[in-house]
Amino acid sequence: MADLSIEFAGIKSPNPFWLASAPPANTGDQVMRAFDAGWGGAVWKTLGDPIVNTSSRFGGIDYGPMKMMGLNNIELITDRPLEVNLREIREVKKRYPNHAVIASLMTQTKEDWKVLIRRVEDAGCDGLELNFGCPHGMCERGMGSSVGQEPRLAEEITSWAREYAKTPVLVKLTANTGDIVEIAEAVVRGGAHGLSLINTIKSIIGVDLDRLVPLPRVGNAATNGGYCGPAVKPIALQMVAALAREKSIGVPISGIGGIGDWRDAAEFIALGSTSVQVCTAVMHYGFRIVRDMIDGLSSYLDAQGMKSVNELRGRAVGAYKEWGDLDLNYQVVAAIDSQTCIGCQLCVVACNDGAHQCIFTGREEKARPTHAHTVGLAKPPSPFPIGAIAGDRVPWVDEPECVGCNLCQLVCPVTGCITMREVPSDSVDSWNDRVRDGRDRIPGGIHE
């Protein structure tokens, strides 16, 4: 069984799975139950000056029968007294000395930061996470994402924290920024030992069409909230990878955003995360999901022949390239398995209306669209495929016209029915190669 333990900027954790600073890490009771369930660490719900929350504060977006593909919230930082939180942090650390407890913090003046840092470190936390990410409510008061969007401010506040902190300082970044690298470099200059990302994304989750008020509705009004959950994972993955491949960063990353199972976690780790944090999936299904994360990740590592999770870290970063470096000679074409096709023909409409007009049905030769590159009629395969399930409703691909966009495979409800078959090619040619050889003029596409 692979070793899952990690060390994050000096913070030791039995595994890379941490609760994100959010409702699941709101109280000592929850954090202890989470540790019992298997979580390796917790970033405490953000501590700071007293606030009051609204009633009605979350909104969800469903996808088909699946609930909560995305979650939106307008909650602020903790609404519990600091003394109570500190007492519970002390209690947790006493009972779980080997688990990571990180205090998320958000406050205003240099003096406030000093006092807050002293008090949480006195309570025994293993590290700090500066919340420069919250995109709703707190940013209106000059905190959260309003700091995370201003590199100079973020750098300065980070350096204050470094001045007072005895434990490692992590900075949690907002996704609401034009250039994640710029802000990350700034906080690293300010002395951050590690980066956590992403916090939620500024959003309006929907509109109540009966009352014509956005959601979640607070009386007769609403405000923008922070978006998270499975829907944000692709955005978070890109941002994590962008920092992981940047030489100027060089500090560990705690990946956050839409993680719900071991695969999500493994992807974040492969793109450079040392630990991963989870909020929405726990809010949806509870602490128990960590069992799948632990067992799934360790069997995956075993199967890959990796002895430790550290061997996986960053393994996919090198393959994250600029578009201009991709091989333009690489070619795949769609292949439909007539035996598993159910004949829904979603691939047909997708290719015809949304891709390259090269999937057909029926036994006759078909006229290609006028813009086709290939001359003549599209010929059905011979012998014509008769499906085990779909009979003669199995569509066929006009291979010479297939650009290999993957759309048909993505819409097919039968997993594995459409595969993208590689067409062998004996040379490699990227856009950058073409520019270098003078065969194309514009490097990278847009600028001369």
Binding site: G64, P65, I342, G343, C344, Q345, L346, V348, V349, T361, I389, A390, R393, P413, V414
Partner: protein, 445 residues
């Protein structure tokens, strides 16, 4: 000629009718159930479910509208192809029609519950007849329709929605035909069928009850007073076995017995031992109904199980209802006791001489319905085939007389309500196109 009435005004269902003792087997979905089932639909392209529906309802579209919360839009999508969509939702043998062709079925997964979704949409939307879209006709024509069954109702509805006039003549006191008098109560009760007739009357269809074509009404009369005639007379009486004792007490035809059970005052007698003779869907229906009403039922068929024309899923359901099925038994005679009451039915093992007597207080003969005679003869040019069915073009319903159309059981020999609806509607569409001056329909000139 008798007075014009709204669907059910004239006719009162018995309040203590037996069918009320049998509950709906597939109750109305709740909104939650409907939406979660709707969201499972793949929204197929060139969807096989549509092709399997004789009225070609745009199933993926109506289902998607349930999913988006536009239930009225969903119902309108259904009614655009099938004005009797509310009945069909509940009575169609979906296992062999739309749901049988759903891509999930081939995939060995539960098909989308299309029938129940269709019921949810039509019943929950509860659209008034005035909500259905209408178009005007350049010159309104008037069509006479014979029989108030599904075929005529669908034909008449389509005509009035396109600006024409439709007058139905029905020999019985109620509308709906077999949809009112024959459908198994666990699918549809008579009051719901009558409500649908009333809804179609509200669209502007005129209905006259108690007028039998051939008696009160004659062919030449209709041809001179109306622009076209639609024949939707369905099938005739229950066929008879022609064996001794059939006219005695306790022996009844299936369609007749079912009509009594559904419409008439209950005789309040325990059913006791029942023998149902036949192997089709009507036999199965009668057997299941008797079983559900407390009878001790044996269904006896003259050939083997595989030769039964009843749907396999219905045979299975009958078994679950407690019906005993006996095969390869040819009925010989009905046995009555000294006081003339039925005591049993004598069968011979098919191909063997010896007789077995199945005890019975009630014997239901379900071997098919005869053909209605004497209708076609009244219209010059209209032909009847060797099996007694009216000859009509399968796409337009036009007969050998270009002003006379026909559809439903009287043409197809006995299928489902949805087939009758399709035929009636298509005849109306052919007429509408003809009168609009459309030339593409070669037959409709």
């Amino acid at each position: 000629m008798s007075s014009s009435v709204n669907g059910s005004d004239l006719f009162e269902l018995a309040r203590d009718r037996d069918e009320l003792a049998i509950a709906d087997k597939k109750p109305l979905f709740s909104r939650n159930e409907a939406v979660s089932e709707a969201l499972r639909c793949l929204y197929c392209v060139d969807a096989p479910c549509i092709k399997a529906c004789p009225t070609e309802i745009d199933i993926p579209t109506f289902i998607r509208r349930i999913g988006t919360g536009d239930v009225s839009g969903s119902a309108l999508t259904i009614f655009a192809q099938n004005t009797l969509g509310a009945s069909c939702a509940r009575i169609c043998p979906v296992e062999v029609l739309c749901e049988g062709s759903c891509v999930y079925t081939g995939w060995h997964r539960d098909p989308i519950k299309i029938g129940r979704l269709q019921r949810f949409a039509t019943e929950t939307a509860a659209l008034p007849a005035s909500a259905l879209p209408r178009t005007g006709a350049k010159r309104a024509k008037h069509v006479a329709l014979i029989g108030a069954g599904a075929a005529s109702l669908a034909c008449a509805a389509e005509l009035v929605l396109h600006g024409h006039k439709a007058t139905i003549f029905e020999k019985k006191k109620f509308g709906g035909g077999l949809n009112t008098s024959s459908i198994a109560p666990y699918k549809l009760h008579a009051d719901d069928a009558l409500a649908e007739v009333a809804w179609i009357a509200e669209m502007g269809v005129e209905l006259h009850f108690g007028v039998a074509f051939g008696k009160e009404l004659r062919g030449e009369e209709l041809l001179s007073e109306y622009d076209a005639v639609f024949i939707g007379v369905g099938l005739g009486e229950d066929s008879r076995l022609g064996i001794p004792g059939e006219d005695g007490k306790g022996v009844v035809g299936a369609v007749e017995w079912i009509e009594q059970m559904k419409l008439a005052s209950s005789p309040k007698r325990a059913l006791g031992a029942v023998v149902v003779i036949g192997g089709g869907n009507t036999a199965i229906d009668a057997a299941r109904e008797c079983a559900q009403l407390g009878g001790d039922v044996t269904l006896v068929y003259r050939r083997g199980l595989e030769a039964m024309s009843a749907y396999a899923h219905e045979v299975e359901a009958a078994r679950k209802d407690g019906v005993t099925i006996a095969v390869d038994q040819t009925p010989r005679r009905f046995v009555h006791d000294a006081s003339g009451n039925l005591s049993g039915v004598a069968f011979a093992q098919t191909g063997a001489p010896s007789e077995t007597i199945f005890p019975a207080q009630l014997a239901i003969v379900a071997i098919g319905q005869s053909k209605v005679r004497g209708i076609a003869e009244q219209f010059p040019g209209v032909e009847v085939n060797a099996r007694g069915s009216i000859v009509a073009d399968p796409k337009t319903g036009v007969t050998g007389n270009d002003r006379v159309f026909a559809g439903g059981d009287s043409v197809n020999g006995g299928k489902e309500v949805v087939n009758a609806v399709a035929a009636g509607r298509d005849a109306a569409r052919a007429l509408i196109a003809r009168w609009a001056g459309a030339t593409q329909l070669a037959l409709a000139i």
